[in-house]
Symmetry: C2
């Protein structure tokens, strides 16, 4: 066991503070890494607040992790000491079910092990995330950060990136696809960049007219203000694919109506209850409503490679570890463009 400094929520509350944790001895397939950067996801805040009623304290958040390999287990073949690597939302799964075999570990039939606030499948210990000096993870769940991809800004690709990339790929977004991205936060801004990178024509749908310039800067060719009923009506049914990043319950019907025949509205993540809506909006164009969560390990690697090749990176604001609780406050009022990244070299230096 190795002792390492981390930031943890020690009980139900909204702040994290310095705390010593233990990292396990390397198993044969394990990789040890120093954490270089860790993105700050809204889930981190939900978990430390116990919003999902499943938090086991201490909670060490962080699942957008970029690190440097410091040691490898006896059986490791994928990575070497010194490699720049990454870890996302998952650190294990059953590895043998159909989804795992297909590299869709997020759908593991025995449920995947989350990077933090999860339980290790071998020794039953709780998993601790990336707000810590070191991480030990099975190589199967460790990604390669390609040469040329800025490790600092790469961090949010591990959750915000893959969560939007996976549905864009699954629903075959490509050159000429007419895509709408609803919401322009951490996920939405990645959805825009990635869809543009794939060659799609992207429209941003937002409640805030003030976000129009930002949307266009990110690559959108059009902006639709969802509160403008005339504009929504005039937009017709023109999108092949609509990525819905609104993180709270909301009426789906106006967005379904914007989809073309055989188009899809895909909610990313959980929005609790889908409010009642008229079945006619599905029927009139054989439209589909679906939802998508994170992504599998092979498609996460594909994403990192794609971003390196196309020079696509999240827009980030880098903070020190000690600024994290202030960053949460700002995130809570959407005051960030578009993702905080913690420079983990600042850990223990406040």
């Amino acid at each position: 066991m190795t002792s390492t400094l981390a930031y943890a929520a020690l009980s139900q509350g909204s702040t994290v503070e310095p705390f010593k944790i233990e990292r396990r001895e390397l198993r044969d397939d394990d990789i040890a890494m120093d954490v270089l950067y860790c993105g700050v996801c809204h889930s981190d805040l939900h978990q430390i607040r116990n919003d999902w009623h499943n938090s086991v304290y201490p909670v060490v958040p962080g699942h957008e992790i970029v690190g440097r390999v410091t040691a490898v287990g006896a059986g490791v073949t994928k990575h070497q000491v010194g490699d720049t690597v990454a870890v996302g939302c998952l650190v294990d799964s059953c590895r043998v079910c159909e989804p795992c075999e297909e590299g869709l570990e997020q759908f593991c039939e025995k449920y995947p092990t989350p990077t933090y606030n999860g339980q290790d499948r071998h020794d039953g210990s709780m998993t601790f995330g990336g707000y810590s000096g070191q991480l030990v993870t099975s190589e199967r769940f460790v990604l390669r950060v390609p040469e040329g991809l800025d490790p600092e800004r790469a961090a949010p690709l591990l959750c915000a990136g893959i969560t939007t990339w996976s549905p864009l790929r699954h629903w075959k977004v490509g050159p000429g696809t007419k895509v709408a991205v609803i919401g322009l936060g951490g996920l939405g801004h990645m959805g825009v960049k990635l869809a543009v990178g794939l060659g799609a024509e992207v429209t941003v749908i937002t409640t805030s007219p003030g976000k129009s310039d930002d949307a266009r800067t990110l690559g959108a060719i059009d902006v639709l203000i969802s509160k403008d009923e005339d504009a929504m009506k005039a937009a017709g049914s023109r999108f092949d694919f609509i990525l819905d990043t609104i993180p709270v319950p909301h009426d789906i019907a106006p967005y379904l109506s914007l989809a073309k025949r055989d188009g899809s509205v895909v909610i990313v993540g959980v929005i609790d209850m889908v409010p009642t809506f008229h079945s006619g909006v599905l029927l009139m164009g054989r439209r589909a409503l679906s939802a998508s969560m994170i992504g599998g390990i092979p498609e996460t690697q594909e994403l990192l490679d794609f971003c390196a090749e196309h020079n696509i990176l999240p827009d980030c604001e880098t903070i020190s570890m000690a600024e994290i609780n202030h960053a949460y406050e700002r995130m809570d009022r959407s005051d960030v463009k578009y993702r905080f990244v913690i420079d983990m070299s600042t850990l223990g230096k406040d």
Copy 2:
């Protein structure tokens, strides 16, 4: 103009009675036919009762029509006098939009013309359906009834058949597909027969344990009683495709939960409001909820050819025209296995 006997609802009410209507002179692309058989669809009852608030009286229902060609317009090439032909729910569309070009006239951007209670695109007259001695229809919307397909039992293929065939084909149901059909009425029983014909493994989901034997007779390999919570839970998530033929609003979540990863629940027709449900049932398996209505002309022809080749026919009870109002009463209490067909040679003979 040709005068012909029909059965019509003359004002808002629930009975139809003999009534003389006019059929137009043949346009160049028109086909005139004697109606041989006409299926009785629940929509017929909705329309004569004005349940959808759009009925224009007199209403002559009937959109599951098999007839024999008696005359053809100067430009007709597809059919000849004497041919056995069929007409379904649509008798016209704009013919030039993308869906029409693709043979998906049900999605015509200018809205297709329904076989009855619709308005002719050329002279603005109301359309009258198959409860009549004769019909005049553009050849584009007239199907060929293949040699060997019983014209009497073929009639319900034109609505109940195509409404289930179209989604089965669109969602690529084939050998080995695990299909569930919810509800065992006119549509459901066709869904079972057609899915079985396509090589799928079909389970019927019903509220009525009494329908188990019937379901198996139709070709289902399993029956799931939806009111049996333990059985529903034990069924797991095992279906690739779930065809939902329940014609009224109902909770979708229990059915979505039965779908495999990337599986779909497809509602056929309109069920008014979809009740609220938790987004997690979409998310957990990237499942999709969609809806489907009738089908296009080419896929209706494909269905008729498929049924002829595979000897698939609806289970019907043949009635005389004069029995129609009694048939409605029985249909209203689901007392029919599974579709009434009117023998139109009985018209005017009560």
